[in-house]
Amino acid sequence: MRIRRLFKWTRFGIFAVFGLIVLSTSILCIYTVDTELSAEYEVNTQNIAKTIADSSAGILLNQNLATLQSLVDQFLEVQGIRYIYITSETGEFLAHTFVPGIPEEILESEHSNTAPVERSLPGMGDFIEVGSPILAGVAGTVHVGMDLDVVALKIQRAIGQQVYLISVMLLIAVLASIWFVNLAAKPLGELLAYAVELAKDGENDELGERDILARDDEVGHLARLFLHVSRQGGGRGLPAGTSGTE
């Protein structure tokens, strides 16, 4: 006989508590990772733009545009960077990485602007673009476009990994708690079955020789008590080995 109803609420409680922990941890994790990584990527992109700007000042002053393009091409190898362009102080495009041409939206944008701006370029995707002035802007501006899809993918992957870990831990915890509950419920089921047999045939000598009576725990105490009550027919006095305070 299994004790189901007795632990129904216990199991429900375990699920509820662990579910709440997973939910709150996941929400916090998503928020933190999303916020922190988004900010990190934006700062990184700004730093790259600044590095290019600092490196290209001398090259620009020498009008060595092939070297400038070579410099830009190397930074394009950095993951997530999808486009770079450098404009002169008059807005002329001196180097860029666009194929098959410079998108209309970028041609029409304010090239001296260095504040982060989100762009959606047809056929290319969504980007966050940051700029950095070259020689305080008197020699031009560097613009770097970070692919938001790549950033989102990275963030999703980071979040996914953490939520996956938490979920696995929840599953293990729930399975373990069920196993422990079942472990506790099994002797109670045996006790219940023994009590039922006593109720049906209390005078049967075989019932006084059951293994359950030899148990040195609460179930053994209760089994001996049930047998004693059954044999005494009313419960006056306690059988040897049974403490009323336990």
Binding site: E40, N47, T51, D73, Q79, T97, V99
Partner: protein
């Protein structure tokens, strides 16, 4: 050679899934500062020695870069990929001359051989090949490199090891970085520059009234170099670029250039100057004609004229339709003009030796041309290199290279233009030639007005 160079950047320069500001900046700075010097590149070039016996690098390790038996020159060039024709043709022309030299006793008894590596016209393998040539193979000099994006990345290495006096001789590029500070002193050029080529094209086009000039270019250092040349030439005429379209390096002829053509059609140009390699430029010319952009389409010498022509005409019923608007700028005279002594010598030696790229370096099928502008340029490069090595005397040493080359004054290579070098003159030839297609071959363009006016 005493040098220490530990790779500092990651092999691919990529980030992990989670990047930190520090790691990102490290990657960026590595790309800027360290990558040109690192020996860990994306693709390893495959090496092959040709022209002489297997060199003993231990002898060369003493610092002279030459043994008593041979002088080894290091080459990193495109022998694979869509631009393999450029490296192959240049190599064939050079080896025609060096084979001739070696067969006739070499230079001061030493054979001249080339240590070859394939870079596929990609910068990172070229950097890796260069490091190997300098540090492991210990070659005497670098010779006959192909391409601007590759050479541009190698120049900082030459500066880094400037005490070793390893110079880059006669790269197949007309870009400015190896002609100007801070790297100009580490390279010697024979061919005219892209600035000269683009100025020649722009001046002639403007002269016949074609002032709205657009540019189709490879989006890298080579394309930018040509773009800057066109821009500067137009500026002298008070004009600006009418428009521009780009393509990525490595594009094949089978790729579509329709978007690029449509972009340029939108600015209604009078002419288009292409700064690219033959596969992409042929694709552009094809799509331009197919989409009705019927204006002169000019190409620079680097394009590889014969390969361009082959792609546009092979299997075409109406090939003339695709080639009649072509103008190709050249930096060597026509290989058809046998009245030029060097051309006759080149044709004789090409016929006699018919050099082939070593089988180990051949990854894709390529049928070389009996004669080409590229192999003629390689031949002239080798001829001048041979003269420099002769001037080094019986004990060739890198330390004497500059003195030897600066002693070359009004040297007759066998073409109409004489060659001079000096501390402030590191480019031997200045002439630019213009050609058009007639009867399936490139011939000199004499009258721009009659043809395109």
């Amino acid at each position: 050679m005493q040098c220490s160079l530990e790779p500092e950047a990651s092999p691919d320069g990529k980030w992990g899934p989670l990047v930190t500001r520090k790691s990102l900046m490290r990657s960026g700075l590595a790309a800027l500062l360290v990558a040109p010097f690192t020996a860990s590149a994306l693709v390893a070039g495959r090496g092959q020695e040709s022209g002489g016996s297997e060199a003993e690098s231990s002898d060369r390790a003493e610092g002279r870069g030459a043994t008593d038996e041979e002088i080894v020159l290091g080459v990193s060039a495109a022998f694979s990929g869509p631009s393999r024709g450029l490296g192959t043709e240049l190599y064939r022309g050079a080896m025609a001359y060096f084979n001739h030299v070696n067969e006739n006793g070499g230079i001061e008894g030493r054979k001249v051989s080339l240590r070859l590596y394939d870079d596929g016209y990609q910068p990172d393998p070229c950097v890796q090949n260069t490091m190997r040539l300098m540090l492991e193979d210990k070659v005497f000099s670098l010779f006959g490199y192909v391409g601007t994006p590759t050479v541009t990345r190698v120049l900082p290495i030459l500066k880094k090891f400037q005490d070793e006096k390893i110079f880059l001789f006669f790269p197949f590029t007309g870009a400015q970085p190896q002609r100007e500070p801070p790297y100009g002193e580490f390279a010697f050029n024979l061919r005219a520059s892209y600035n000269q080529e683009t100025a020649g094209l722009v001046d002639n086009l403007v002269q016949i009234g074609r002032r709205r000039i657009a540019v189709f270019y490879q989006i890298d250092a080579y394309g930018r170099s040509g773009w800057a040349g066109v821009r500067a030439a137009l500026d002298k005429h008070g004009e600006r670029l009418a428009g521009e379209a780009t393509y990525s390096r490595g594009e094949k002829f089978t790729g579509s250039m329709r978007k690029q053509v449509e972009i340029l059609q939108g600015v209604s140009p009078d002419a288009v100057i292409c700064i690219g390699a033959y596969a992409a430029c042929a694709a552009f010319a094809r799509d331009a004609v197919d989409l009705g952009l019927e204006v002169p389409i000019a190409n620079l010498s680097f394009v590889g004229s014969e390969n361009l022509l082959k792609l546009l005409t092979e299997g075409q019923d109406d090939a003339e339709r695709y080639t009649r608007q072509l103008i190709n700028s050249q930096v060597v005279p026509s290989y058809e003009d046998t009245s030029i002594p060097a051309v006759q010598e080149y044709r004789d030696l090409m016929a006699r030796y018919d050099p082939q790229v070593p089988a180990d370096l051949v990854q894709e099928e390529y049928a070389p041309f009996p004669h080409s502008f590229g192999s003629l340029e390689g031949f002239l490069n080798a001829k001048l290199m041979g003269e420099i090595l002769r001037r080094l005397g019986p004990n060739p040493d890198r330390a004497g290279l500059e003195e030897a080359i600066f002693s070359i004054e009004d040297f007759d290579l066998g073409i109409s233009e004489r060659v001079s070098f000096g501390p402030d003159r590191r480019q031997g030839l200045q002439s630019v030639y213009h050609t058009v297609v007639e009867d399936g071959r490139f011939v000199p363009l004499d009258d721009w007005g009659a043809r395109f006016g």
